[in-house]
Symmetry: D2
Subunit: 282 residues, 4 copies
């Protein structure tokens, strides 16, 4: 079994030494270590993965054993185990490409996740969900019932002990209250190269602006629309020959790959969030 | 000698046939033809290059001969000859990388241009200009003397029959009056992936936003800052490891290549401007 | 209805004029025209798409009407109609990603094709084919029965009037005899950046060579393995952190996109083959 | 002052702990740490940069102090100091673009190197070298005098205590004897996407093969031509419109950027070589 520590704290001398010594003392062989120091803000970020085979304390006691050190460092931290797959809920509306991509990648074992449920405000993608044997729940959302429906969704998410919500082109804006229940745990895909073309119809905006490259951006959702910490972006070249329809077609491939890559990094505990930014360890 | 027609007009049946027949009648062998129809706006764009060897009328009479057809089509058009190099003035301030790139590419014969002069609001890059034997004129600009200095610059540009102005990281905003003297003839490089990070310090903006990709954009200058028709864009991947200084360093390579590519297309008469957009024929 | 002419012939004066005049005379509005002259070999390549609405002769007579002109030009040519979808047979073995991609893109209407059948040497992907309601035929191939099985496959392909065969990671080498039945009509995907890493296990080869970028290549199949005219290529950056397994994972995304793009260009009649090379009009 | 340790050894428990503890004990604040484990071959690679301010032993004694630990680990290792710039000799022939790029990047302070001399087998680039005030030595090479000339070059390199040789499109093949004097210290740029198009005229080879993407590769030189460990690669898209001359033009931009990036990584002590492969820490 593989354990992963994600930690951030004020920088100071000896952090790597103290943390690696903690593992060494207990017989932990480090499999992977990534470290980053934000020299402007004097902050330290680390991800360490180690082998639990031969580790002198069981998985259930690791966090407790590490807590005193973390406290001393005044750190934000968590320890996860690779074998315990994240539980992901996917939110969708009518577009299928992002859902299709995640379900397919999940089906071939590429993503270390469980998908206990899919939630939608439309019934459109029910049959796709059924193809992959994932329960599909419809919560139609209107201006009037939004908070109420979100409440029901939250209950369902709680019931399934969901770690992370993926908005796979979900066309509803979640309330601040909802978002705050899942800090740095809601992943969205925006079909533009953020911060360009925030908001609606980014392909039409891109077409009208005459850009030569379009993009897609996956980010954590915060209260402010399209302003959350960016996880992954990618682009594709376009030309005057491309209509809005062509942009949508080319963009579909971008969107699904960028979202899947963001989810891959998240599911493998490779991301630390700091303010408006992410540290994504390769 | 190679002649090039750039033409745009309302779309209708027979345009290619009529134009290519005009050339065929006069013995013109088409070397290259690119065409584009904007089906939304029902507009037709074409670039044709043909061989003047064996053409039955001399270069000096081609425009006059073609004029009636263009008038019938209600077209915007121009005919240029590849051997007659464009006259380019480069405007710079203190950053050398874009100037260096253009002067060097010019020196190895990559750009079909003449550079009769360089204009700057600072003396900084005088010695670089001298290395390449290009006259360097300094016009210090203050809030008070701007219009006056621009007037002198315009006179100098006129004297040298300048076709096109390249703003190679020129840190002054040109007046609308100046810009309107050179419609679709002033090429700027902006050090961001427009329309993201319009305005000052785009690398700092990009760093603070936490984007995973930065870009550079070359565009024609219009009255509205950073809003002109985009000619060329490119990007480079960055990570949390990159400081603002790293972004500046990586961005320098982007800026100079993107500007040089835009100038290459412009100098080879490969660009048609339509509203806020460009058609760039490869 | 949209008609498309693909033509190549020795270059000479007046080709565009004569061809476009042919269309103009008959009331054909050109929707799209791409032309290329290989100046080394003095060859002319053209693709013209025009609107059949208002065209004075019916689709069934267009080829006959154009034939004399083509003969005069000593041209290789064909005329196709966008509304008449190509009939594609997909050959697969055990890997599903390329098949999945094509079936899914077909299901959302992105590809102008019909898929009357899937052929495989293994039963593995039967259920995936059934999900998309495409008949799946298994022809197990051994050294001894190869020619015989290919004969049966050819009969089936004939029966379904198949235009094009897509080898979606089909792990058998087709006989020269089979290949010659479908000249420039068999599209393969090779999981490397050809001509690097020809043959088996290209990801392992790439890993061992320590390249920093991997690729995928879609090409027409000729008698010589991995030597046919390249249609499309793309790449992705890798690092020392990537194992062979990571290369396979990253490469899967490349392979399916590159193959789908090649098929898109082919199905839209955008490709002319000349010797070992392709002209792919955007 | 910043110190950098590059180390590789057989993997075992406690390496990071022991090494970081060595620094911690002496008051060394880690600025940057990158680690990699090759799980196939059970090898450990690390790069640690730390601040010498406040370090309890002086720079001159660091290596001696660390040696016992390295011996225990059976490690290959070196310690370098960022302030002590590498001494680089550039070898050129007639093409200027790579030399120009390095000299210019050096002139603006982008590369942490000194360039005590340039060596060429032709006088062509003498004036460019003089522009940047770098001594230029001509050693014409023939079949007969090669070993003798190399001997003189080696003496000159020794005299200037050169760390690293950059072959900036040097058109001579160095003898095995010469190469072995500078193991993993000679950086070459090959104008193709290796291992595609090994050997002469790769752009012509690429043109004739009809690839859709061309590349450039920077690698350490070993006895076997174009077979050394790859440091950096990059690519650019081409089309049927591009002639060999266009490939050369587009390739020039690739070559100089790829070589400069490889040199940047090398000069910043970011590269570990292992067999045919490199670990390049970002």
């Amino acid at each position: 079994m593989k354990a992963i520590l994600l930690l951030s704290c004020p920088d100071r001398v000896g952090l790597v030494s103290r943390i690696s010594h903690f593992l060494f003392e207990r017989g932990g062989n480090i499999l992977d270590l990534d470290e980053h120091v934000d020299t402007d803000q004097k902050l330290f970020f680390i991800r360490i993965a180690w082998d639990m085979d031969g580790f002198s304390i069981p998985a259930s006691e690791v966090a407790e054993a590490f807590a005193p050190l973390a406290k001393e460092f005044n750190a934000a931290w968590k320890i996860r185990f690779a074998e315990r797959k994240m539980k992901i809920a996917i939110f969708v509306s009518k577009y299928e490409h992002c859902l299709q991509e995640i379900l397919w990648k999940h089906s071939i074992g590429e993503l270390a996740i469980d998908i206990p449920l899919i939630i939608s405000n439309h019934p459109t993608l029910k049959s796709l969900s059924e193809q992959y044997d994932i329960p599909f729940h419809v919560f139609p959302v209107t201006k009037d019932n939004k908070i109420e429906q979100e409440q029901k969704e939250l209950e369902l998410l709680n019931l399934h002990q969901v770690d992370t919500i993926v908005l796979a082109r979900y066309m509803q804006i979640l309330s601040a209250q909802f978002v705050n229940e899942y800090p740095s745990q809601i992943i969205n895909i925006h079909h533009s190269f953020l911060p360009a073309f925030i908001g609606g119809n980014p392909y039409k905006q891109a077409y009208e602006r005459g850009v030569k490259i379009i993009g897609a951006t996956s980010h954590y959702v915060t209260e402010n629309l399209d302003e959350g910490p960016i996880i992954e972006q990618d682009i594709i070249r376009i030309s005057h020959r491309d209509s809005v329809k062509d942009l949508i077609r080319k963009g579909r491939d971008l969107e699904r790959l960028v979202l899947a890559r963001a989810l891959y990094a998240h599911a493998n505990h490779r991301i630390l969030v700091h303010g408006r930014k992410t540290i994504v360890f390769d």
